[in-house]
Every structure is written in C-alpha cells, then in structure tokens.
Subunit: 336 residues, 2 copies
C-alpha cells in the first residue's frame, strides 16, 4: 500500500469490508465454489445446482470476481487459484467452514460493540460467556476450524520433525477439534495423545481421531484446563490457540501447571498469532489483538517478548520462536 | 491481485473484512483521527483526548496501522495520507460520517440475510422498509453522506462547466442532503434549484442550503418523486443515486415524468455507480449490485447499455457516459 497518496478507495473498501465477508460467506453456504469446480460454469447452470435465483446469483458471482475468488470469460465463471485451493469442498485444503466461526454471532457482537470495548479496555460483550464451561461455541469452533487447523498441524509436524521422533507422549490442551495432537499421531505411529477440553467439544475430537485412524492412541480428559489433572511424564504439551484468551498472570499459572506435567527434557509448544515485539507485523497477528479486545475480558495476541517473560516466570528455559509459513500461525517452544 | 497463486491471506482477510469495517467505525466514533491530526501522538495522550482505555486503544491503533490509516514511529502514531485527507474532521474532504450510513442497521441486516436474498433473487429484509414515506433512514443518509456527496457534486460541477453556464433552473430529485443542487447553485449565482424529497429529509437539505448561503435560490417540493408535481421548464433534472433502488420499468416511468418537466434543450443528469456493460468493473460499481440485491426488492447497479435502453424508452436522445474521477461515481446524461 502506498501511504503517500490519499486513497478514497481504501476508505470506501474498508467501510464496505463487512459486505465482502457476507458475500464470501453466502457463496460458501450456497456451495458455489464446489459446483463451479465440477465444471458448472454458466450462470443459469450454477443457479440451478445451488438452488439460487439467477438474478441474485449474478450479483453475488460478479462481486466474487472483483474480490479475487472467481474469474469470468465467455464460457462463464471459473475458480481463481485461491478458491480452487481453499473453497472447493472437495479440495484437500478446503477451509470454507472456518467462516462459520469467524462470523459466529458472539464474535460479531464483540465488534458491534467495539467502540465501547476500546473505551473500557475490555470486551463489551456480557462477560465470560465464551469461557464458561461447555459453551457450545467451542463445539462450533471445533467443527468449523478443523480443516484450517489440520493444515497448520501438518506444518507443526514438519517443524517438530515428527516422522523421525521417538514415541512421544503428547498432551493437547484445549484441543478443540484435536487436530494438532491427532495429526502428530497420524504422522508417527509411536505418538500417544491425551486431549483436554470440555466434554461436548471432545466428542468432535474423538470423531476426528476415528477419521484419522488413531483412536487407540487417543485419550481424553474432559474438564477445564485450569482444573483437570493432566497426569505427568509428557514429552510435549501443546497449547494451540488457547493462551490468547487470558491475561499474563493466568497464562503463567497455567504454564506452571504445564511444566509440572512434563517429563525431563520435555517441551511446551504454543501455537498462536505472535506479533513482532514492536507490533509492526505480521498483519494477521497484530490485528488479532483487536479480536481479543472485542471478545475477551483480558486476552491478547502476545509478542514473543511477552511469552518469554511468562515462560521464564513459570520456570521454562530457552524459549524459541518459529514461523509456520504459509500459515499465519507461529510457534513458541520452551524446555522444562 | 495475482490470480495464479493460491492466497490463504485473501481468504482470511475476507473472512475478517467486517472487523476492518468495525475498527474504522470505532476510530471515527472516538474521533481518533481528528485528535492525532492536532499533534497528539502518544498512546496515553490520544487515550486521554478520546476518553478511551490505553489497553483498548493500543489494539485499535495498531490495527489501523496495518489497515493503512495510521503510521507509527518512535514519537507515536501519525495519520496516513488517506486518513489526513478523509478522516480528520477538520479536513475539507472529511467523509467519516458516511460510515454511519454504510453500516446502518437496515443495510447490515440485508447482508446478514444475503444467502437468502441470493436464493430468492430479492432482498430478504422485510419488504419496502426503506422506500416507505418519510422513513428516517433517509434523514440519516442525508446527514451522513453530505460530505462525500459534496465532493462528488464539485466534480459534477466541473463536468457541467457550471461556472460558465447560463441561469439554469435545476430540479434535484430525491435530493437528500441536497448537495448536488446546492453545490451547483453555490458555483453559479444564476442557478435556481428546486429539491424534491420527503419533508423530513428536506429539512437537512435546507440546513445545507443555509450553510452554502443559497437559500434564496433554493426551494423544496416535499413528497414522493413518483407523485409530486415537478413543475416544468427545467434546464437540468438531477437524479443522483436514486434510480438504483428500482426495477427498469419503474425507472422508465420516472424518466418519462422527468422528460415532461424539461425545457426544450434540457438534460437529465443521472449520478450513479455504473458498471461497464460486461460488469467487469469498475470494482465499486460491480459490487454495488449486491448492495441493491441485499437491500431492495428489485434495484440494481445498471450498466450504461441498460440506461441507454431506459432513456430511449422514455423518449430521451443522445445518452452519454462520463467518469467523475477520483470519485467512483459516474454520470449518464441525455437530452430531452
């Protein structure tokens, strides 16, 4: 972006940003991309397959051409490379379902009350909703985010060189869909996973473990990560997308409990949006602070410097930061 | 945009588009840009001026840096060229108020029900709300959109060479804020304007006429554009951002009535988002079709070819299309 020239388009596009979200969400709900991927290209044919009115669909598809998800030529509409990779339900990288979580009513509500949240310095949504026991939002999260998490988990497996690892015992905290532990187990037949989350959420993880054919090496411990007994002797403890919900003191309390569950030589593996220490980037990580402000009492996207402090206060040694490109997620690891 | 490489960022950014809208809206509501423009640069000082919590404001301002509205250096936060031109309340080009209309509950509701609108081929919002007499949404529109319209009206004045024009009699239909007619009157002391809109909306236009010091040459005719008597002998009839609400048959009916009100040699001047005939661009104009699908029974962003047909059916001659760069608006003109 060129910051030297005033851009009316930038202002207008940002005013209308919610309309691009809605257009893509509608297309995913109508399964437009999957139909086009099968070679259905004319407006009339796509409308019939998606049970939509041609007049409505034309406005939607033309919007998606402008937005970069479709291309159009004399034969009709086609998928852009992005849509083919991520929005066709039959593609291995499909992650359209994630829109359901990113636009869940509770998250949207936080942004509807964003001015008030900035004034207060904390979410203006009725407090503690999402962090209450067995809140169904996390079942929805687990279902919607599994594909995206599966991709990130593959990248984590590469980082950990999982295929050459010994028979690790892995604790997956606030496992949700369970895809992080399950993927490690799938990539190494010696890995055993114990997953912690609310009981209703773990039912989704158990489904995913069955699909991945790792049920025999997948156990669950239902309950709050702050209260349930973890057991001990773990080689790895995974904390994927969990610490951002809490203030640093709460994170330190949990990290202390995690450290006690590790075997000698064991490591904690934190998967998160981690902004650079000066919060200048990466873009998604910096922006994620606002998601936490809008929706949680005291959560944040913590920098590596902030994680170093929390980990040190919890007794960990040698924290390191790792990218997981092309995923926007990063990994912070530390030794017991 | 490179359509050849799959972009996870494009998907994620679009999922989160509504968050960028909310961030900019919150910053406008807190008047962050105006405060920074006065030289308030540190987080703490901006927080005090805007009555916000530093913790909340930090998350918001860092988001706005990523989004292109702020810059940050060792001395604190500064406006980007875009924010300085359009978001500082003291700048002549201020148009922050437009966010109030673009994100008005009724418009947002249309997008919340977009999937249903695409299925039906018409808005899923309770029918006819916005088009009902004296709906207060148009008072809000008139207030919020006046600055942006004022800028577009200046560009229209250039196109019409208004400063060299004779003593035109101008009819401004669905005038709203009245800025189109008022700006022409301000630029040429011989221009007289008659503005048509709901009575509650015309009160806003009358305020704007007073501010522009053209009250003596500004009259109003309250009522529906389809029912009120226009009078006759007009040199120009303005139809700014009005026809997009209706189906072509309704537009033709109104254009026929407009033509009858024109003096010999008179012209109709339609200001609209006008997509190219193949709907390949301009971006904002193509996207605007979806806004009309989401929010109106049968409105659309019509192409020039479609306007040519409607104008011809209403008896007009020699339609022409004109850009108003840097505004995304275009002008369709035709002779009686």
């Amino acid at each position: 972006m060129n910051h030297n020239e005033p851009s009316l388009s930038l202002v207008w596009d940002t005013f209308c940003g919610y309309q691009r979200t809605a257009a893509l969400k509608a297309a995913i709900e109508l399964d437009v991309f999957t139909q086009i991927a099968t070679g259905t290209t004319t407006l009339e044919a796509i409308a019939e397959r998606c049970q939509a009115a041609p007049r409505g669909l034309r406005a939607l598809l033309d919007h998606l051409v402008i937005d970069g998800f479709l291309l159009r030529d004399a034969r009709g509409y086609h998928l852009s490379a992005t849509a083919a990779a991520f929005l066709d339900r039959n593609a291995p990288g499909y992650l359209g379902s994630a829109v359901t979580f990113v636009t869940a009513p509770r998250i949207v509500e936080g942004f509807t009350k964003l001015t008030e949240a900035v004034r207060r310095g904390t979410s203006a949504v009725t407090e503690d909703g999402a962090l209450a026991p067995e809140n169904p939002v996390w079942v929805e999260f687990a279902r919607a985010m599994a594909p995206l998490a599966g991709m990130t988990a593959m990248l984590l497996g590469n980082l950990l060189e999982i295929e050459r690892a010994p028979s690790w015992k892995v604790l997956d905290i606030a496992a949700g869909h369970g895809m992080f532990g399950i993927t490690l187990a799938r990539l190494n037949a010696g890995v055993r996973v114990i997953a912690v989350d609310w009981k209703n959420v773990l039912a989704v993880a158990e489904d995913n473990a069955r699909t991945a054919n790792v049920t025999e090496r997948f156990q669950t411990r239902p309950g709050s990560a702050f209260e349930v007994a973890f057991g001990d002797g773990y080689d790895l403890v995974l904390l994927p997308n969990f610490l951002h919900h809490f203030d640093p003191a709460t994170c330190e309390r949990l990290l202390t409990k995690v450290r006690a569950a590790l075997a000698p030589g064991g490591r904690v593996v934190i998967v998160e949006f981690v902004p650079n220490d000066d919060r200048s980037g990466p873009a998604d990580a910096v922006r994620f602070s606002l998601v936490m402000l809008a929706g949680t009492p005291a959560g944040d996207a913590y920098t590596f410097a902030e994680y170093q402090r929390m980990l040190s206060n919890a007794g960990f040694r040698q924290p390191t930061l790792h990218d997981l490109a092309p995923s926007p997620a990063r990994v912070v690891m530390a030794e017991r």
